[in-house]
């Protein structure tokens, strides 16, 4: 739960609450990915990610 606390702290600090819906959807996505696939492989290009 430390992650959620940090995430909330980050949104508050940066005043970026509008990102919240995006993050929630992504986390749901994440749950799917974790349960359905193996490793996540970074794309090969310049590591902007």
């Amino acid at each position: 739960m430390e992650f959620l606390k940090d995430l909330w702290g980050f949104l508050k600090e940066r005043k970026k609450f509008w990102l919240l819906p995006l993050i929630v959807i992504l986390l749901l996505f994440g749950v799917l990915i974790v349960f359905t696939s193996g490793s996540a492989i970074a794309p090969f290009i310049y590591t902007l990610f």
């Binding site: 992650f3 995006l22 974790v34 794309p43 310049y46 902007l48």
Partner: protein, 619 residues
């Protein structure tokens, strides 16, 4: 009890660890040197273990761990970028997000799990910003009480360029240029278009640029087209990239190839294909633009800070040609560049930021001397380690009781035209080998560049080599009136050393130009009569200094060719075992490990050796 900070950079490229004990740098190293995987991005477990051991500090006794950026803000940048480009960028989004959702978003947890392998204590973890880490790595170890700070790289969280001011223990960031407008990414886009690997081939592009013809219409035309279409440079040095032509924000590559081809009139170069004149001219055009931006930014930095000196860090600060131009411009009285200017140096910067900013500790400066200890901050090995390697490999060697006798013998060997692997003391921090993990040769020898490129390093024939010159002799050879200890300044070779240019020099084929004898030190005189100088100080690296000095006594020349001890695609050697293996795999003539000399003619082949070309991916 000493107070120690462990700095970490990881998870993007060039991971590294560094340790400060009571504000003094004790050790720093790249993870790639231990894992033998070039630009290794994984958590630097080996490097961290090493720096803790070197400092004699247990993990549990650390005051703090400092990670070199803020992952959440990076994530914010990523989301906002995709949001602003939507519906473009879906493929990139789908590639990047799983990595973030599974790993990077939980970086703190991941970091804590890795740190738990170093000790079971609870140590505070700090996250200074990426460019603050760069700025700290540039300012705090510099020899200045106060200085302007310029950091330039691809991208950190949002910032791609920052201008700051440092005084005492304080750093103020005054201006910031944000993603996607980035000088580092602009240079990388051209690296990509010219057929080199992004994130490692930038220095090849820089080395290729002098082959371009500055007087050619094509070069001028490229420059004009780039400025009209691809990048807008403002008076203060800010740049705006025309994102219609770039793919890095939403795609999986740097540039939109078709659009670039329409503008530039030449297709993207296939990696490893023959280098033709147009790519040399293109490399020159973007190098000239980069220099222009750096000079404008430096002017702005000077106006904002009124400082006499400037310090630099970030990947673009490894562009030693533009560093040389900045020095020559006289905008600042002096410049100092962090030798580990890329992301690996962020580990050191993060530790410094924690020490001076978070802990508020005062800064101690020794006037005229930086705190980097010559960048010799990595592991060193004992005689018994060397003997073990020799035994394991059934190697024959000669041991020299006296250092003087060693220098005497090696200087003879060098003067005879041999190539020597020179492995001494502590390994360098940063991408340059500075005489402790170096391959060295005679700079007077006209065949040396060809031999080193093709038979030792197995790399592209056009690549230039740099000289190591004893500090007292710099002005004998180069138009440089100060030290350049980290090989980060490119300056002209002295007029008196140059041979006249043949008629139509710029129009000759690449290799005809390359093999023209440009000076009496041809193997380190680049095609445009410049050299990337490393000055060697007698106190900082006495063994290397004495070797070069002995060579001078015998030949009259106080300099050598110095290139990193590795083959193409391999990280610089770390241990004597790495050094011996590299020596045996190449056509290097001699190897010196400490005071042990190995002659190739006396060695047996390594049994069951793998093919290095399969082991190391080409860079």
């Amino acid at each position: 009890m000493p107070e120690a900070i462990l700095g970490i950079s990881a998870y993007y490229h060039d991971s590294a660890a560094a340790i400060l004990v009571d504000g003094e740098i004790i050790a720093a190293a790249h993870e790639e040197r231990f894992t033998r995987k070039k630009h290794d991005p994984s958590f630097p477990l080996n490097a961290a273990k090493y720096v803790l051991e070197e400092a004699g500090i247990a993990y549990n006794d650390l005051t703090a761990v400092a990670f070199y950026d803020k992952p959440y803000i990076k994530f914010e940048r990523l989301l906002e970028t995709y949001h602003s480009f939507v519906p473009k960028g879906l493929v990139s989004f789908l590639s990047a997000m799983p990595v973030w959702i599974k790993e990077k978003l939980f970086m703190k947890k991941m970091l804590n799990e890795e740190l738990a392998k170093l000790g079971d204590g609870k140590v505070r973890v700090l996250f200074p910003e990426h460019h603050l880490s760069h700025a700290a790595s540039a300012f705090y170890p510099s020899p200045y009480e106060e200085a302007a700070i310029l950091t330039l790289d691809g991208v950190g969280e949002w910032a791609t360029t920052t201008i700051g001011y440092g005084k005492g223990k304080d750093i103020k960031i005054l201006r910031e240029l944000d993603f996607p407008h980035s000088l580092g990414l602009l240079y990388s886009a051209f690296t990509y278009y010219c057929g080199f690997k992004v994130n490692s081939g930038e220095y090849k592009l820089m080395g290729l640029a002098p082959y371009g013809n500055p007087k050619a219409e094509q070069t001028k035309d490229f420059k004009r087209k780039i400025l009209e279409n691809l990048v807008d440079i403002k008076e203060d040095g800010s740049i705006l990239l025309n994102m219609e032509y770039y793919d890095f924000a939403t795609g999986l590559k740097m540039a939109k190839d078709k659009k670039w081809e329409q503008i530039l009139g030449i297709p993207i170069r296939k990696p490893e294909s023959t280098l033709t004149g147009e790519y040399m001219n293109l490399a020159l055009a973007i190098q000239m633009i980069t220099e222009e931006v750096v000079l404008r930014l430096s002017n702005t930095t000077q106006e904002l800070t009124k400082a006499k000196n400037i310090v630099l860090a970030g990947g673009v600060a490894l562009n030693c040609v533009s560093n040389g131009k900045l020095l020559k411009s006289g905008i600042f009285d002096d410049i100092w560049i962090q030798p580990a200017a890329g992301d690996a140096g962020g580990a050191l910067g993060a530790a410094y930021a924690a020490w001076h900013i978070w802990m508020g500790k005062e800064r101690k400066i020794v006037t005229g001397k930086d705190a980097m200890k010559g960048a010799y901050l990595g592991p060193e090995f004992s005689d018994s380690d060397i003997v073990k390697v020799a035994r394991r490999n059934n190697a024959r060697f000669h041991y020299f009781e006296s250092d003087d006798q060693l220098y005497d013998k090696i200087s003879d060997i060098l003067a005879e035209g041999n190539v020597v692997g020179w492995f001494q003391g502590r390994m360098e921090y940063g991408p340059r080998a500075l005489g402790n993990r170096s391959i060295i040769g005679d700079a007077r020898n006209p065949e040396m560049q060809k031999k080193m490129n093709l038979k030792i390093k197995y790399r592209e024939g056009f690549r230039p080599f740099a000289p190591s010159v004893i500090e007292e002799e710099i002005q004998e050879y180069f138009e440089l009136d100060r030290q350049s200890p980290y090989m980060l300044l490119v300056v002209p070779v002295n007029e008196a050393r140059k041979n006249p240019e043949p008629e139509g020099y710029n129009d000759l084929e690449m290799y005809d130009r390359l093999y023209h004898l440009r000076s009496d030190i041809p193997s380190i005189t680049h095609i445009d009569y410049s050299a990337r100088v490393q000055s060697v100080n007698r106190e900082v690296n006495p063994r290397y200094w004495h070797l070069i000095n002995k060579f001078k006594q015998k030949t009259g020349y106080g300099l050598l060719v110095n290139t990193s001890f590795n083959v193409r695609g391999e990280p610089i050697v770390c241990s004597p075992e790495d050094g011996y293996r590299c020596f045996m795999r190449t056509e290097m003539d001699y190897l010196v490990l400490g005071n042990y000399l190995f002659d190739k003619k006396e060695q047996e082949k390594i049994k069951d050796d793998t093919n290095w070309q399969e082991e190391f991916e080409l860079d």
